[in-house]
Symmetry: C2
Subunit: 225 residues, 2 copies
């Protein structure tokens, strides 16, 4: 059985990615990042998901990205509401270099637990807006890690797996259902009004709602609006 290190944010995508890693025969160590996000409630969701998936090695690493700033998710910048979900531009919810930071942390964990794969729930819906969800970035980052880690330079394998990369959000919901993931445990909202409650108006909520709708799956989420 091979070992995977999985980024588990508490959202829909990473929960499905973690379940995919298990279904593909990998033992999962999960990493969540407490980075000063306003939607810290997602960390509680990550915990619930780890328990539901029987992931016993779930770690939460704290990195205070508020010191760096530059995002509506960490600063006193308003989270946009009720605008077209993802447009041409990079949204203000982009956190500078977030996936580079998260994947580097995940690589550290992979080295410690002996994982040969880093699993991330990045997908096509996001990479139009977030440059660090682009496949070219993930490929180049994996190459850098192979050149700059103990495992990579000792002839070991270290790859990045992004099983949701080319799925639609509806496709992710369907895959989650097929894998038996309890999607009601996940939290997508960027600005949740309470634990396990979705605002219903931010980009992430709009995408989530539409995904369940298009997938023809009953949406288990609590929305305030």
């Amino acid at each position: 059985m091979t070992q995977a290190a999985v980024l588990l944010s508490g959202g829909l995508d990473s929960a499905v990615a973690a379940a995919w890693a298990q279904a593909s025969g990998q033992r999962v160590s999960a990493l969540s990042v407490d980075y000063g996000q306003r939607h810290r409630a997602e960390l509680l969701a990550a915990r619930r998901i780890a328990v539901a998936l029987d992931i016993t090695d779930h770690r939460v690493v704290t990195v205070d990205l508020r010191v760096v700033g530059g995002s509506a998710l960490t600063d006193a910048i308003a989270v946009p509401r009720d605008r077209p979900a993802i447009g041409e531009d990079i949204p203000v919810t982009y956190v500078p270099a977030r996936n580079a930071i998260f994947l580097a942390l995940l690589a550290g964990l992979a080295e410690v637990v002996g994982a040969s794969s880093l699993v991330i729930g990045a997908n096509v819906q996001d990479y139009s807006g977030y440059p660090d969800c682009r496949p070219e970035f993930l490929r180049a980052f994996a190459q850098a890690l192979r050149l700059g880690t103990k495992v990579g330079t000792s002839g070991g394998e270290l790859k990045i797996q992004a099983p949701l990369l080319h799925l639609s959000k509806a496709g992710i919901v369907r895959l989650g259902v097929a894998l038996g993931v309890d999607l009601s445990l996940t939290l997508s909202c960027y600005d949740p009004p309470a634990e396990a409650v979705h605002c219903g108006r931010c980009d992430a909520c709009h995408l989530r709602r539409r995904a369940f709708d298009e997938a023809g799956v009953a949406d288990p989420s609590h929305y305030t609006l």
Copy 2:
């Protein structure tokens, strides 16, 4: 005047790298990382160096790498003393994926302050032991960042500069002196017995001592042994 984001650990190398960035005409924002290292005293050294170099934008980001573990610098693993300084193997003081994590954080800062270069004091003495100091890694990482950041994908420049890469430690001391850096402010020790005091016996202390000796520069450091 262009802007550089510089990793400032509090050690000799990063102090000289920061001074080099200034001397090359760049305005410097400095980033130190409080990662749970046993030699946290280096953060005080970083502060002293920032003040001495008149770097007004100096940020300390906290990331608790003890959650990940796997290193004598963060765990209850003894720091080796009085052994050949750097050998063939990767030392136990290697912190899994540390430079990937630090450079990713630095890239985040670079995006926020509008820096076009990331400056790191990596050098040839280290990359025999630490894979994440190898030039191939730095090149590949820069490429990944260009593909995965806002600045890189908007046609902006984002490069990694490692001005000490091919210098000996003695060469770094000489460059520091030439640039007018007060090297007495720096702390290299992996396990300092007190603030601004070097143990004199760990790898980093041995390398530091030999560097001053070979450079023919009076060593301003306090060693207990």
